[in-house]
């Protein structure tokens, strides 16, 4: 279970799919919860969810597409859960896009991001050289204080970008929450996982109506 922005929606969707999520709603400071049917929920930072699933500490997990693209874990990606919708974008300061000028005159673009793998792949695929500055928070600050020419970051509504005088220039991909499964659990517990996936797919479809 990903703590943070996806957490409540994940609980709601699991509940709608008939999973006993009562222990998760109790709250508190525990990180591991066990339901009456012996289902164990592990709560962790979103970026660690694929790590737990890949290592088999958890059979399945819920995590954003952004984390999957950045971490490239060796897991099955089973279902688009259609919440936590947002976009991975490249943004620069408002006004004329400085990118072509920087590429032409300096040859290399300096980009601040929490997602170095995604940013590198994006600029490589579009034929532009890039120097990445890995930051751990408040990425929007980068172009404002001269740390970087632009940023690659996740945006939901775009409010934070606007308030910091940034403009989206390129969308890299569309992200939403996904259901992932460990490679071995996916086969050894095939019946359980297929049943849960089917129930979640129904709940997602019902939500969309």
């Amino acid at each position: 279970m990903p703590l943070g922005a996806l957490y409540q929606d994940a609980i709601a969707l699991l509940g709608a799919a008939g999973v006993d999520v009562a222990p998760l709603q109790a709250g508190g400071r525990k990180l591991v919860f066990e339901a009456d049917d012996a289902t164990v929920f592990i709560t962790t930072r979103p970026s660690d969810v694929p790590t737990y699933v890949e290592a088999g500490a958890a059979d399945i997990g819920i995590v954003g597409r952004d984390v999957i693209n950045e971490r490239r874990p060796d897991v099955y990606e089973l279902l688009d859960l259609r919440f936590g919708e947002c976009r991975m974008v490249y943004a620069t300061a408002a006004g004329e896009d400085p990118t072509p000028e920087i590429i032409a005159r300096l040859g290399v673009l300096r980009v601040a991001t929490k997602y170095p793998q995604i940013a590198e792949a994006h600029f490589l695929a579009t034929g532009r050289q890039v120097e990445l500055v890995k930051v751990n928070g408040s990425v929007e600050l980068g172009p404002l204080v001269g740390l970087a020419d632009g940023i690659v970051d996740l945006v939901a509504t775009g409010t934070t970008l606007r308030e910091n005088g940034l403009v989206e220039r390129e969308q890299i991909f569309h992200s939403s929450a996904r259901l992932i499964a460990n490679r071995v659990s996916h086969k050894l517990r095939a019946e359980d996982i297929d049943a849960l996936t089917a129930r979640l797919a129904q709940a997602v479809a019902a939500e969309a109506v």
Partner: protein, 433 residues
Amino acid sequence: MSGSTSGCAHSARKSSVSPTDPIQPAAGALPSGARDVLPVEAAELREVEDDLRATFARYGYREVRTPVVEFAHQLERADSGGLDRAYRLFDEAGRVLVLRPDMTIPVARLIATRLPEHPGPIRVSYTGPSFRVPQPGKPVASEHRQAGAELVGAHGPEADAEAVLLLWDALRSAGLGHARIGLGDVSVTDAVLDGLGVSADARTRLARAAESRDLVEWRTEASALEIGGPERDLLAGLPAMRGHAEVLDEIAETVPAAAPACERMVRLLELLDQEGLHDAVLVDLGILRDWQYYSGLVIEAYADGAALPVAQGGRYDGLAARFGTSRSAVGFTIELEFVHRALAGVRTRRPLDFGLVLVGGLDALQAQAADLRAGGIPVIALATGDLRAEALAAAEGWRFVGQPEGSALRIVDRADGAVLVSTTALEDLSSLR
């Protein structure tokens, strides 16, 4: 002058090294992904290896060995992407060498180039280490102990069934009776794509989704194709289809062009059912590793306690041709360390090793020690009066400790604390085995 100065600086730096010095690695440091194997683990790995070898031998698979070092260009013939994570070095002529990153390709090379006159079918097995550069942040070793078997020059469901049966029997003999075997089939998936007239571009995108196990992306790509409703639904759900023969019947019904490929797999399942493998086998069309490499069946084996498949394999009829001799082939590779890890979760505590720590075995009881060893009882000999016998037995896990008592031996069985005073130690100990 300059020499003595640098010598001085060197010794000064050496003396400042502390155990936590980040620049100078600790005495036990090894390259990333490398590790030592201590006696208990080594013994258990050896047992797994012996069990697998014995099973291969029962099916008539004879052992071959290939060198650890190969020319990079030789292996690249077979699988251009396979060397991405190989350790590379140079030989005296500047040619690029690799530490073999797996055993399948070297064994295919051996069969194609050393056994071209063999009438076939050829059955070979192998055991040994392969090497891959570990990926940062992932708990995977650089050295993989592998054991595997190849059936070359035989095709059809019967040959496939032998490979699956051998894999299952080998895992069972090593103690993984609860392992599950997943079977995919590239030829079924290809036949569906052919039958639906899917373009080469779309196939590339689907293959990429399948190989990264991204069923969401596969569904998105398949749903965008301009084909009939039921066919499109089938294709979108194809890698999520699993079960037994009914899965293949459903595919053949919706896409008649795929019926021959489905029939072959149904026949394979019949053969496996007759061997009693019905419950151990899961048909899963999402098992689509290395699409370019495999030409038919794709095999994976899973066991509780191992986060990755304990074995992988399949049919690769095109591989031998890349070394100049065209032959069909099916085989698999078992990861010994993964099997061992899964077993460590199954087994209870390891029993004490059957052996006698014998005080006096080095001097007064030399003849006794020799008799016992000749009779098949391991003897760890100490000098008369050595007081470390019990501590040594505890540290190394030996079951028996013996001391001379008059003309007899006083033997303590550490498994249950029983004491035995014996003048016929060889018979008495042998009876306890």
